[in-house]
């Protein structure tokens, strides 16, 4: 047992408080009403408006057309997050499988070409991408929102490195056991990659969940609103003497935080379990 050092703990506690303070403020403020926040600033004590605020945020039909609820936005964000994560994992695993296990010409060159796309952020190619989607008639659709961003250099890179670390004997044993390329992938590689998949799921879910610019561009139909756009639109009502619904914005922000946190907590456990259990 190590001796407890009070000073070290003090620093840790202060650090934890510092990091957690904004989150606490957001949660607490979301339970007050808008006028109190406007006059008194942010709160660190709970108010009495929690049920009303969250109820309103989830079910109130808002937006210009007045038919998009918080629940709807939550669902859209969820579709984006899961669609991104699952799609990217499937695509990049298949790409990495081909790169690692099939000997074809220029495989390394191809890999590096994919890899260099990491250097180009979405914003660089956002207009051409938009144009392609619009020509294909995929604006205002989930397909259009998700598919163009599925190719993932990061994912391909991670899976490629992982597949290369799988011992060759595993492939040879499987070949002798009569497993063809497809069976080897499904029966051996996919189960072995669970840890990797969990890690990439965390990253890609949050990436998809936090998308703002792309959905903004791709969708004009409010039924495709995501939470990120919802928060923004609540704060945009500063017209005349109207006070923005700070509490609702905070409530939405809190709601927007919950799924990523849940994903991290759940998958991190799987991730760590995978790490400690794995022996190849």
């Amino acid at each position: 047992m190590q001796r407890i050092k009070p000073f070290d703990h003090l620093i840790l506690i202060l650090g934890a408080l510092f990091l957690i303070a904004p989150v606490v403020m957001a949660i607490m403020s979301s339970t007050q009403n808008a006028i109190d926040i406007h006059t008194n600033g942010l709160y660190i004590t709970p108010g009495s408006n929690a049920v009303a605020t969250y109820g309103k945020v989830l079910t109130h039909k808002g937006g210009f057309t007045g038919d998009v609820t918080g629940l709807r936005m939550l669902m859209n964000s969820m579709i984006m997050g899961i669609g991104f994560a699952v799609g990217k994992i499937v695509l990049s695993m298949m790409a990495a499988y081909a790169l690692v296990y099939f000997r074809f010409r220029f495989a390394t060159l191809l890999f590096w070409m994919i890899f260099t796309t990491l250097l180009l952020p979405l914003e660089v190619r956002i207009m051409p991408s938009y144009q392609v989607m619009s020509t294909l008639g995929l604006l205002n659709s989930y397909t259009g929102l998700i598919v163009p961003l599925l190719a993932s250099a990061t994912g391909t890179f991670f899976f490629r490195q992982f597949f290369r670390s799988v011992p060759d004997e595993m492939l040879e044993a499987a070949r002798i056991d009569g497993a063809g390329p497809f069976k080897f992938f499904i029966d051996i590689l996919v189960p072995l990659s669970r840890t990797m998949m969990a890690a990439i799921f965390i990253i890609m879910f949050i990436y998809g969940w936090n998308q703002y610019l792309w959905p903004l561009l791709m969708t004009t139909d409010e039924s495709f609103y995501t939470l990120m756009r919802g928060i923004k639109s609540i704060l945009q009502v500063w017209i005349g003497s109207q006070i923005p619904d700070y509490n609702e914005a905070f409530a939405l922000a809190v709601l927007a935080m919950v799924p990523p946190v849940a994903v991290v907590v759940i998958f991190q456990r799987m991730f760590i379990k995978g790490l400690t259990e794995s022996d190849k």
Binding site: E172, A173, D177
Partner: protein
């Protein structure tokens, strides 16, 4: 169960490196053949060519009556045990063993029956539902064996299966493998760099050096009549001492000492002496002792005669002197050509009972 035949088999890598060449082996049904040699001698490559994991660039390999050069590993009717076991870590022991059968479309009842039989043979019953990581090295090795057995293949291929185990376990697994192979009667090809493992397991040994066969034969035959200096120094521990000697006028002389009379023609020869054929005696060739390895039951005395080193096994328990007299049984001399390293039959005339020393 099948014969295995390798006809003039060779392997040249794309870069032009010659890994294996001109290998001819005929393996009888049920025979246990061990390929042995130092690392880089091509023994693993040869095994992998039989398995179908490496392409065959020269010659033909037949398993049973079938020419398998162009067949996939799965179609060759062989099973392989790998050095690092290569068990599927996410599958239970049972699934590991069943996987190959499942892929071949065996029925559930057949799979269950074969797995049960193999696990009984290998005493794996209690571990069937465990994952490989929950097993010890020896148990993993058994699972790898089980995976081969359930398939009931024409031949087993072993690629240094015991080298990841500790010394004690290696000895007991060695015996188990041999017993199992005898019981099943499956033709086996086994690769190892451990000459002791090779000697104890094999019906016949194949000693490889630089991609070529140096000698094929029963372990004792190879031990007693090594075909070349390479085989002589590779098989047996401590290694056979190889000394420069001369034949002059029908007498073998080593550093001026006459050892035996032979009918071979005059000239330089390489003299091979096994440590256990030499004795420390009251009279003999004087050897300067350099160091002594105590093994308990016996000791190995390393020393020099003139400038040449040799090892002698001594079972006595007296203190070893700085200089000892080594007696050499002329009937146990090995002679090799100095340039080619091939064995020369020594035509012994009369042993020099009283060494003229």
């Amino acid at each position: 169960m099948a014969k295995l035949s390798l006809k003039n088999v060779g392997k040249t890598y794309a870069g032009g490196t010659l890994a294996v060449s001109g290998v001819n082996i005929d393996i009888a049904d049920g025979e246990f053949i061990v390929l042995v040699g130092p690392s880089g001698c091509g023994k693993s490559t040869l095994l992998r060519m039989v398995a179908g994991l490496e392409t065959i660039t020269d010659g033909e390999i037949h398993i049973g009556e079938r020419l398998v050069n162009q067949l996939d590993p799965a179609e060759r009717d062989i099973a392989m045990v790998f050095q690092n076991y290569a068990l599927y870590p996410h599958m239970t022991v049972r699934d590991n063993m069943a996987y190959g059968l499942k892929n071949r479309g065996a029925s559930k009842s057949v799979i269950a029956e074969r797995v049960a039989e193999a696990s009984r043979m290998l005493e794996l019953g209690p571990y069937l539902d465990r994952k490989p990581r929950a097993l010890s090295g020896g148990q993993r090795q058994r699972v790898a064996m089980g995976r081969a057995i359930v398939r009931q293949p024409a031949a087993f291929l072993f690629d240094e299966p015991l080298s990841n185990l500790d010394a004690k376990l290696r000895v007991s697994m060695r015996m188990e493998i041999r017993k199992l192979q005898k019981r099943l009667g499956t033709t086996s090809l086994y690769v190892t760099h451990d000459q002791l493992e090779a000697m104890t397991l094999a019906d016949r040994l194949v000693v490889l050096n630089e991609g070529r066969i140096e000698q094929i034969g029963a372990p004792l035959e190879i031990y007693r009549r090594p075909a070349s200096t390479f085989v002589a120094s590779f098989i047996g521990a401590p290694a056979m001492s190889l000394l420069d000697a001369h034949i002059d006028a029908g007498a073998i002389t080593l550093e001026g000492h006459t050892l035996a009379r032979v009918g071979n023609s005059a000239g330089p020869v390489t003299l091979g002496l096994r440590a256990e054929d030499l004795h420390i005696a009251a009279r003999g060739v004087p050897m300067a002792v350099e160091h002594v390895e105590e093994l308990g039951a016996q000791r190995i005395v390393h020393g020099t005669i003139g400038a040449q080193t040799l090892a002698v096994i001594d079972a006595g328990d007296q203190q070893v002197q700085d200089t000892v007299q080594v007696s050499i049984d002329p009937a146990r001399l090995h002679l090799f050509d100095t340039t080619t390293g091939r064995r020369i039959e020594n035509r012994l005339h009369t042993a020099v009972h009283e060494p003229a020393l």
